[in-house]
């Protein structure tokens, strides 16, 4: 039987890690914070790939590995499949999750910045700050994917984007031949 913990444990842990790195350790250096969060995810993905691919044969090509991620890996982690997979057949894959559970309970407070009048909500800066905060949470998942794939021998860059706030996330995997060093 698979051992389980409550979902709020993991949610709290991730929220606290992001908050810690963004606000306490590197308050004005979002790049550094993002790299650290991504590195944590990389470590997790690396180890998970060993556990979850132990019993199956080697992947024949990259597409098979990505399909494994979309179905089995996502199922183990998030109890659902990836909703949509697209590729340009030239090494880039886009995974779309319509209800990414780590974003599902986030809300954006349009009045988060003090002194902003309601008319400023539609200004690009207000929306950007909120989206930026949410993107910091996505770095962890990008790291997991990158770590997972790197242990299978697929070196790539992973980036995520939020399409329809706040529950849709894209992960673009671009196949590269140079390893990204943090």
């Amino acid at each position: 039987m698979v051992r389980e913990v409550s979902e709020s444990c993991l949610d709290s842990l991730l929220t606290e890690v992001v908050s810690c790195y963004c606000n306490r350790f590197y308050p004005n250096k979002h790049d550094l914070a993002a790299r650290r969060i991504e590195a944590i995810g990389y470590q997790v993905g690396h180890q998970l790939s060993e556990r979850y691919t132990m019993e199956r044969p080697r992947f024949n090509d990259h597409l098979e590995a990505i399909k494994f991620i979309c179905k089995d890996f996502w199922l183990e982690l998030f109890k659902k499949h990836v909703d949509n997979l697209r590729t340009n057949h030239r090494g880039t894959f886009v995974l779309q999750d319509n209800k990414f559970c780590w974003l599902a309970r986030m809300s954006i407070d349009p009045f988060a910045d003090s002194g902003k009048s309601p008319e400023d909500i539609t200004s690009p800066t207000a929306g950007n700050k909120a989206t930026h905060a949410m993107k910091m949470h996505l770095y962890f998942s990008c790291g997991i994917l990158r770590g997972f794939l790197s242990n299978l021998g697929i070196l790539c860059a992973v980036s995520a984007d939020i399409l329809t706030l706040p529950t849709c996330a894209y992960f673009s995997l671009s196949h590269t031949y140079t390893e990204i060093t943090l």
Partner: protein, 220 residues
């Protein structure tokens, strides 16, 4: 309205959403590892883990109280208020009510969140100090501490969570590790902090000590 009976940890754990514990364990391990890389000092890492745990605990207590129907918190406030004005004649009542609340918080809480059963024991004479024993801690699955990190309290986040959660219900506590299988089986008795009761008339604040001892049986 009739008081609702507190739910057992098993019942709650069966009804909440759960995730794979491996993901949780590995995430925690990666966080500790990254903290060690960034901060380099083991003491600093211990402190940060405790602080992170504290921040988590102050929020987790809300979910705990909402889902477990622990109603004794209300009684405890009234009890503690009375106790603050008297001195020692009702210390027995204090120890019972505090121990009851803590037992519930800790035993039910551990089951509800981590899915493990914890036991409370080793109450001292005044009822201010106890040990919580975790037989099976999901955080330490697959973990071995290298020699360079022997001063590390790997599960220090747990002590922060307990401290934060109990502080939100007006119990100021100190949580220290007594025994930790990751650091070897030696019994390490940490320095005893003299017990003090900073009673305030209008605040229900009790300084207590909870020593956590963790026994982990290694898989053979």
């Amino acid at each position: 309205m009739a008081p609702v009976a507190p739910r057992s940890g098993d019942a709650i754990f069966a009804n909440i959403e759960r995730v794979n514990a491996e993901l949780f364990t590995l995430t925690y391990g990666a966080i500790v590892r990254q903290l060690l890389t960034d901060l380099e000092e083991v003491e600093e890492v211990n402190k940060q883990l405790e602080q992170m745990g504290y921040n988590i605990g102050i929020r987790l207590i809300d979910e705990f109280l909402a889902k477990s129907n622990v109603s004794r918190c209300v009684d405890f406030r009234e009890t503690a208020d009375v106790i603050a004005k008297l001195v020692c004649s009702i210390s027995d009542a204090l120890s019972i009510s505090l121990s009851g609340l803590e037992q519930q918080c800790n035993v039910v809480g551990f089951k509800m969140f981590l899915g493990v059963t914890a036991s409370v024991s080793n109450w001292d004479a005044e009822g201010t100090c106890c040990s919580i024993i975790l037989e099976d801690n999901p955080l330490v699955d697959f973990v071995e501490l290298p020699d360079t990190c022997q001063g590390l309290y790997y599960c220090n986040m747990l002590s922060g969570v307990i401290r934060g959660a109990l502080e939100m219900v007006s119990m100021k506590t100190e949580v220290t590790w007594i025994r930790d299988v990751l650091r070897g089986d030696d019994v390490k008795l940490l320095k005893q902090v003299p017990e003090e009761y900073p009673y305030k008339d209008d605040e229900c604040f009790m300084l207590k000590k909870i020593k956590i001892s963790k026994h982990l049986f290694k898989d053979t």
